[in-house]
Symmetry: D5
Subunit: 94 residues, 10 copies
């Protein structure tokens, strides 16, 4: 089941740089693992912003929340979720 | 080059139903042709709304505008465009 | 799987009253059928508005969209959907 | 009498973690007590956010404010309240 | 129990003037009856707008919705409701 | 002359608690004095928020600003003011 | 007493042109009379919009509402009012 | 003197097509004349929208309003204006 | 040439009081000098807010920016500018 | 390919002044280099704000993001991007 997810990263200036760097590295590793297993189906940078549009393919709302709330940068992100359904004009199944 | 496009369809009540049906049929045919040639890479229905999130793969801003403004329902849609760049954590190229 | 759904009804002044009345009667019958089979788990009127907050229990995003887009008043409603997950402090399962 | 309540938790980065953990534990215990006595009728996590939608069943506006303002995390939450009335198409009484 | 109610009147240009005048007269009579019986405790015009701030004193959410939805101009108003509680610094009871 | 005033209190986490407590006590005393002399005609808590709706009865805009800007919590409040006029359907004079 | 008033004119396409022209002429005459007697102290066009910023000098909120609601174009304007007070750094009295 | 101007065209469905076509042709001719004489310095289509960003070079606010309000499509456009100043890091004079 | 300017002052809690007081005194002196030479034509306090509406009379956009960015409190203000043109119904020239 | 870019600079009060000055100097040098090579085609100050409207001419979305995210002040700016296409009434090519 697919969800469009918009993530805006807001790392506070008070977070020590080393901690921020560690979190970003963990985020990247975790994001790549999730992409490889098909959970994080798409990940795009929004041009000019520390933000992304992503598409997740998970079993449902609980699975989505578990994945998102496990992101290392989760405490520093504003996330909005849009549930996606099959479009009648789409030539591919979701 | 990829763009996230949000389309909200607002067909006015004054449009005759037959005209609306004709436009929707043309829209569907055109959307499927664009998907088949790879221009309209993704098309998802937003659950509960007459709206969609789409990803287009075109040569640039002019090509995008030409494609979007040629949509049969274009006069009846509110469209917003977000340019997408390669995300450094993405495992696939855009 | 649960979804919070906000529906705002906007019946245009140009819709003949008899047609509006027919749609409202169909909407009520359909809403009650969906409540009886457990799909439309909660339905609350927002005080002072022709709007409601509802909770739907469906198999997923596609099922939700099918149910919502089948509502007789669907063409005249502004709908927003929020996917709900199990809250760690809730004493009941969703 | 029912109210839809949206709570968004914003714990400031300056709050010591031990204090935050203590407040969260107290919040959970209090939330469960209120659920058990029927005051906090529903509690749902909003997928992807440190936020919830809740339904409270209280005697009125004063009782609602007393319950909400007694939440251990109250100083760190943005709360909005929507009064709910019986929906004419609902098959259950509020 | 008190509620702050904001009403914005939007009478469509297509409503015949005689019908609008009839509704306004009924609205005025109904508003005055509700004020006399203590339900509509305060009624203030917002300077420069066809809008008002009102305070209603009713038994609860259902009673409020019944009163508001019975207003002759109800179909032509955008209404928002804010539940009011006793303020700890107020010298009078609500 | 009446004004609807909405006050949202935002006390920064950096303000020492003793200072905050002192300001709140002064605010309460001042608010009660203004209520007793008829300046602060109504004071209602907005359920679930550290905010209030108030009605002030003052000689005019300058008097209103003087009263509001003298509130001990004034530096920590977001205030919005709506001038009220006599409503033609009101049974009481403002 | 001064008020900043923002007026946005929205004449519906359905209003006959002759009626619109008549209203505009009346509006102009009325605006000039109010300027001459000192009530409508300033009147500025917002560049690029069918809108204006105005300053009114009236006895109070009731007088302001009476003046504004008597404008011939009042039914076709969105008006917002901001009460102005004497600024401590101003060299002229309001 | 430069101004950034955002124009959103909203031609109502009730305008006869021939009238709309005539206005668009006049708009195009007028826009090109203003570009040729240096008044309308830049004109860009916003991708996916019947809207543009434009830069005007005029003597001041009055000249700007005269130019904009003379546009044949002016009655059907929502226009917002941002005054531009010389940027200290710009290598060219405005 | 006239501009409507809205200024909202947001002095951060971290600014030492003596520094804030010094800036406010400088701001007042500068504001009065600009009023005396006719640049800052009007200065009004918005009732209930640490904000003002002002009208500036300057040679153009560059002069306006120079004046505003020289304000001692400029780093602590949110400023929005609206260019004003001669209104056809105004009896006085701008 | 052209993009309209709006940049709002928000340098936090906690950034040491020397560091802020260094970043601003680097930003200026970088901005001028990009203007000289034609990438940053236009750069305008928004009157009264620490913000600018800019037009970039780059190969596409990835190039735009690379340029913007390399700005020395990038961590302290809120940036929004609007892709521009050739306007049919423009007399010059983009």
């Amino acid at each position: 089941m697919l969800y469009m997810v918009h993530m805006q990263v807001n790392i506070p200036a008070t977070l020590p740089r080393s901690e921020a760097d560690r979190l970003k590295a963990e985020e990247k590793a975790y994001a790549q693992k999730l992409q490889q297993d098909g959970t994080w189906r798409h990940l795009w940078r929004i041009a000019g912003q520390y933000a992304n549009y992503s598409v997740f393919d998970v079993a449902g709302n609980d699975a989505l929340h578990e994945v998102l709330s496990s992101l290392p940068l989760y405490p520093y992100m504003a996330i909005s979720v849009t549930p996606l359904a099959q479009h009648p004009s789409a030539i591919a199944a979701n």
